[in-house]
Symmetry: D2
Subunit: 303 residues, 4 copies
């Protein structure tokens, strides 16, 4: 199977696509990104890498960061994390209040905003936000094997200024006793983790610890790797998760910066970036690109 040829074909098809969705506009820094960017990188289990497009351009990983903080939290806290956050698809938009209200401030899963805030709050514990951010960054750099990964502080500031919906979620969970730090602190760390910038090269490398297979990662136990993949499959694309599973058949996590991290268990870690989003807030072309890849490689976990 010639993965480079497959990537090239996908790249050509994507160049011709006119319906690229809309770039996230709720923070100025993201709104300025051109929808014409496209990049895709694959790291395979045998150590090879394949790339097409602007794979060295860093973009804002946004909610893809939730995968790394979940891994970090599970490594540190273990299964007690699940007393504070569920493992079910929410059936609702990524920033919905409704479910929280009906379920006593316990978010449905760690990949909706409320759940990710709980995970970050759990990592934060009583530590200084600056230290915890350093730890998150170290984890991502270690996973990627690359120290040239940074937080864009302008983006983080921007999110802080407009992040009232996340602050609302955090205060609401605080009212239910499920936010242990001051909402401003946990949200502050969260806004900064979302502002981490990576290229698809870096992101595909950073995803290798979720490949599983014969070479278990030192970052996380095989059982936890499987579970994070399961959560990415059922909850990784908000209320578009079912459709992603249906079309692509691989676990993945998207971010409103237009990036998606996709895992082909035992085979590959894949990163794609195209900034235009669909109605559910997932990269429109990115989804199409991994759908094509899954068809061409037959990497679907579903047979």
């Amino acid at each position: 199977m010639d993965l480079q040829a497959i990537l090239n074909t996908i790249f050509d098809e994507m160049q011709g696509q006119s319906d690229r969705g809309a770039v996230a506009d709720y923070i100025p820094e993201l709104a300025q990104v051109s929808p014409t960017h496209f990049a895709m990188s694959i790291c395979t289990a045998d150590g090879q890498s394949y790339h097409v497009g602007e794979t060295a351009v860093p973009f804002s990983i946004q909610s893809v960061s939730k995968v790394f903080t979940l891994a970090l939290a599970l490594g540190r806290l273990g299964d007690q994390l699940w007393t504070r956050v569920g493992r079910e698809p929410s059936g609702l938009a990524f920033n919905s209040m409704v479910q929280l209200e009906h379920e006593n401030g316990i978010p449905r899963n760690p990949f909706i905003n409320a759940g990710a805030l709980v995970v970050t709050d759990a990592i934060l514990a009583r530590n200084a936000p600056r230290e915890v951010l350093g730890e998150i960054l170290r984890f991502v750099r270690q996973a990627a094997g690359d120290d040239d990964i940074h937080i864009n502080h302008r983006v983080a500031k921007s999110e802080q200024a407009t992040g009232h919906r996340n602050l609302a979620l955090a205060h609401f969970m605080r009212a239910h006793g499920n936010m242990h730090n001051a909402p401003e602190l946990s949200c502050g760390v969260y806004f900064h983790q979302c502002a981490i910038e990576m290229s698809t090269r870096q992101l595909a490398q950073a995803g290798r610890f979720l490949m599983g297979g014969h070479a278990p990662s030192r970052l996380l136990s095989p059982a936890r790797v499987r579970r994070i993949n399961a959560l990415m499959m059922t909850c990784g694309h908000y209320d578009g998760s079912g459709d992603f599973a249906f079309r692509v058949g691989l676990p993945g996590k998207s971010g409103v910066g237009g990036g998606i991290l996709v895992i082909a268990p035992g085979r590959a870690s894949i990163a794609v970036w195209s900034p235009g989003l669909d109605a559910q807030g997932n990269s429109r072309l990115g989804t199409v690109a991994v759908e094509r890849l899954a068809q061409a490689t037959r990497w679907s976990v579903f047979g």
Copy 2:
């Protein structure tokens, strides 16, 4: 890997379990079933079978039937079915009205009751209910390679007498134009398909067409097989689907009769039966049993 030994170990563990959940009590016939039954059958891709427990005792497959009618509907109608039913987890109980009301009578997925009613209504088209029931039964028998599969008409009658919630769903969708036959007719067929009885031997055999892999089924194209598996993964256990994916890592579909059909893509079709249910309406011991099987075999699709 000695699958029989694994099954025997699981069987022994299950015998010792005291917390078996509660048998479904909303229809008298199901309420009379003893919670002590247990059976598990595996059909592997290489044509072998493994069994433990009461694997020849027929039980009411109930919602597991939704997998067969979905396959039948996709084979007959193709992708136009998806204009009438979605592919997303609902995040709500199996018989919820709320989502339908907010989304104009389009059920979230084919495995919640409303969605299964749409699928049955689509198969029914303008044909006679009796004929369509015959067709469903033929499909199941053909999949199982066994003609000794029947509908329990007492169970079907019982469901009809108590099925007001399903009739409410059907009338509601009819009001939105998404139920093409009289609600009584579509519900009638649905109640009968749910009353099909199979043993785990028969059910494991009937599930083989969803294994995919090297020997594609004549019943359904490989692409559709993958998609049904994806739907079973994200939506097969109602609002316990995320947890099943997290714990088991395999696509599956449960029924309130206590049966679960589980697919290990490329490897095996698995049927388990234990009548006691958990709070979400899924077989409690059945879930534990396939969790053990997945751990022992490392068949999780997630690495």
Copy 3:
């Protein structure tokens, strides 16, 4: 105070109104009614009557009938009715399922469709629908002091053919044990009570038993009269009830036929008819007309 002059002024103003709302179109018979009709009648506590417009033309009273069946049910069953239906505004549309689902099949109040179905089911008890319909009609005729009030059977048939949403509500409540007769029977009676036709002359007369004051009605005790008025104030206009109370300040009950019955306690019974509806399903001009009347007469109960 010259009530006739006030009515004439209102009539003139209404003639000039171009934004009359949309006539209900969900049943053909109602859709054919011209939006240009307008009629308004007042019966005062001192036995006088005042009329303007087409006050002798019968129209479909639709949900205004819920006032009469509630009075009938309270007279027959007393306060035990309140175990099956609440007394709170629903905050939702008139035919919503959501509240029912969250509150175990107990409708919020007797003026949303679900609640009115429970009231009709309670009157029906185990009697023949035809007899019960006769009784409802006798109650309305007695209240109006006019035997020339009839059911439009074409309208009733029409509603039966398109009434799937009401059947859904009834089946849903039956599933919760809060519908004692077969849903088809209770819905059948309900569709017929809604199809009663009255002119504003007849409706204003029929509303006199709710005026209270010095000459108590033989149809209902003063305490029950007050309570029905309270329910009309808080729940009589679906999710437009708050706005009606705010603008008009009098208890009233609307129907999708464009009629509204309004009570000025101790002073008058008022009926208005204009078939065009606003977004909440209440007569647009009818509401404006009673708002003008309340301003001119200072009949608001709120000072």
Copy 4:
């Protein structure tokens, strides 16, 4: 009609009541109040006053303050206030997020917490919180004709420390552009207005401007008085408003401190205080007491 005798009878009956509900416990200062307190005061349109119980003991007026800030906001901003807050019962608990989410951050009415926060935010405009608080206090003192009315700063501090749910509402509305000041500022003013303490004597006097009738208030126009009364009738007791209208038949506004302000339009302003609350957060005995008063006086607005 001997109002003092009526009050005495009510007092005696209330003394014998054992089921007094539970005192609000979400802030320590309120939790310490004894449930045995009871006081009731009436100011009539002819300038008389009637009192029974501990009518000189100040209590925390909490949400009763929403009536005064609404009057103040309407006086200052006029009807443009209604672009930011609705006039419909919410059908939900006083601090619900669900409705806000479905309706773009526009609260249903000014008497649920979200709506009151918008009203306070509107009064705050760009002014200093301290000045605005002074203005609110001046309005209340002027209404009561009594300068000895103060804010309990310990209570306000306590609310600030535990007010995460209100902060969540405020941030959520800020995200929708319906909170013009920083959430901390508007909530700060709100927590202080809720911490105003008044006796029933003072509260009944302060409510006189809502009596309407022959001696119009200088504080608010008769039309606005009617509208505030209408809102108190449909929304003044959260999701117990329908029941209060049904049982009492008078507009009223309750607070979790156990106070209720009730208006008999044209006749009287009534204040009652009993700290024990029912499930909806309204004073249990206070409601019973005004129900008895309405029965004895026949002051119901409903005939």
